[in-house]
């Protein structure tokens, strides 16, 4: 190993340890330090369909009432929304890419595959490309979400295709899904919420 190579390796090691040191800013509050309001919300959430206080809610527990209200929106969207799970997971992956949110990306990666989103579609989203082999309904949802993210509005043609295919309830559920995952992406990026164990690849910077 030449001195220059050794130097490069040393710098790599420093970089890696630096990344590991990017610790979460609002870690879990120990149960004995929780206020009554915090304890009550945690009990409610853990006894609900989630069965745990999932990592994005750990920082939000600083405001137990906000957590209670926001997680209820999420509970509807995750467990009862009117969209096909394949469409829901497709849009969640788009939101995770949009915010480069590693926790959400890794968490939803296997869920998206399981719901029937194609591997090549996920790979394209990861790289910021438009997926080429989307099913017809996926393409309609993809175009709607891309326009709303980029333009903050949706053209008549794209709106008409979505409303015609899915109806108005699914349309409002889709808009709310994007809003909810915006909240989650913001809080987890601010918090630097640690990723969970898993085999899904993480997002790279866009090329």
């Amino acid at each position: 190993m030449t001195p220059i190579q050794r130097m490069a390796c040393l710098m790599m090691a420093l970089l890696v340890s630096g990344a590991a040191a990017a610790q979460e800013r609002m870690p879990p509050i120990p149960p004995d330090k929780m206020t009554d309001a915090q304890q009550k919300v945690v009990t409610d959430v853990v006894s609900g369909p989630r069965g745990r206080l999932s990592p994005p809610f750990v920082p939000i527990l600083r405001s137990p009432e906000l957590l209670s209200r926001l997680q209820r929106v999420g509970e509807y969207l995750i467990y009862h929304n009117s969209l096909d799970p394949r469409i829901f997971e497709l849009v969640v992956m788009m939101m995770a890419r949009n915010w480069t949110q590693q926790f959400e990306w890794r968490h939803h990666y296997p869920l998206a595959l399981k719901a029937g989103v194609k591997q090549e579609t996920i790979d394209a989203i990861a790289e910021g490309r438009r997926p080429v082999n989307l099913a017809e309904d996926e393409a309609i949802a993809y175009d709607f979400a891309v326009e709303l993210l980029a333009n903050k509005s949706v053209s008549d043609q794209t709106y008409g295709r979505f409303a015609g295919k899915f109806g108005e309830q699914r349309l409002t559920d889709l808009v709310a899904t994007m809003g909810f995952y915006t909240s989650i992406a913001m809080v987890t990026n601010v918090d630097r919420t640690p990723i969970e164990d898993g085999t899904a690849p993480l997002l790279k910077p866009l090329p």
């Binding site: 800013r25 609002m26 920082p59 939000i60 600083r62 405001s63 009432e65 906000l66 209200r69 926001l70 209820r72 929106v73 509970e75 509807y76 969207l77 009862h80 929304n81 009117s82 915010w99 480069t100 949110q101 709303l148 903050k152 509005s153 949706v154 709106y159 409303a163 108005e168 309830q169 349309l171 409002t172 559920d173 808009v175 709310a176 994007m178 809003g179 909810f180 915006t182 909240s183 989650i184 992406a185 913001m186 809080v187 990026n189 601010v190 630097r192």
Partner: protein, 212 residues
Amino acid sequence: MVSIKQLPWALMATLAASCAIAQQRLSPIPADQYSADQKKVVADIAASGPRKEIFGPLLPMMRSPELAYSAERFGEHVYYNSGLDKRVYELAVILLARQMTQQFEWRVHYPSALKAGVKQADVDAIAAGRRPRTLEPDEAAAYDFIVELYKRNEVSDATYARVVDKLGERGVVEIVGLLGYYTTIADMMNVNRTPLNPGTAPMLKTLAKPLP
């Protein structure tokens, strides 16, 4: 060429055309056409919340009653119980309205921001896409936090430390909750093309990069 006599009609036609363009896509469902689920949401909100009714901009969501209910409850917390200083709250809302060029939110919150004590010069700067120069220290901490979050999708240690120092961890979480809530409303209104309140005109110009 339009003659003077034809002018009023030409104007009327133009106005009618622009009204047609601006029509709501998801106009409010008349109460007498509500389903049982929708009626239940109306009753539950009337019985529980400080507002007693679904907030106007959320009305398109009545297409999905359970969503409308949970979004209203989320919004009630943000609006009534965030614990943020009203000045910082309103500053964050007009920044979000500027970022998304959401004319309705800007029109409603521009006077609230002034009333809460945000300086006129700072509001004008935000509208024009300039960096405001006379923010108070807590306003500046919130401003830098929000702008950095929009630009980089995350915030630096220095900016994070400063906003926690001014607003506390809870305040930071409440700011993010506020941004998420108003993003949802702004998206919903932009998709719906919610019209401005009668007698008001749009105030924001379109800017390629709204936040300086």
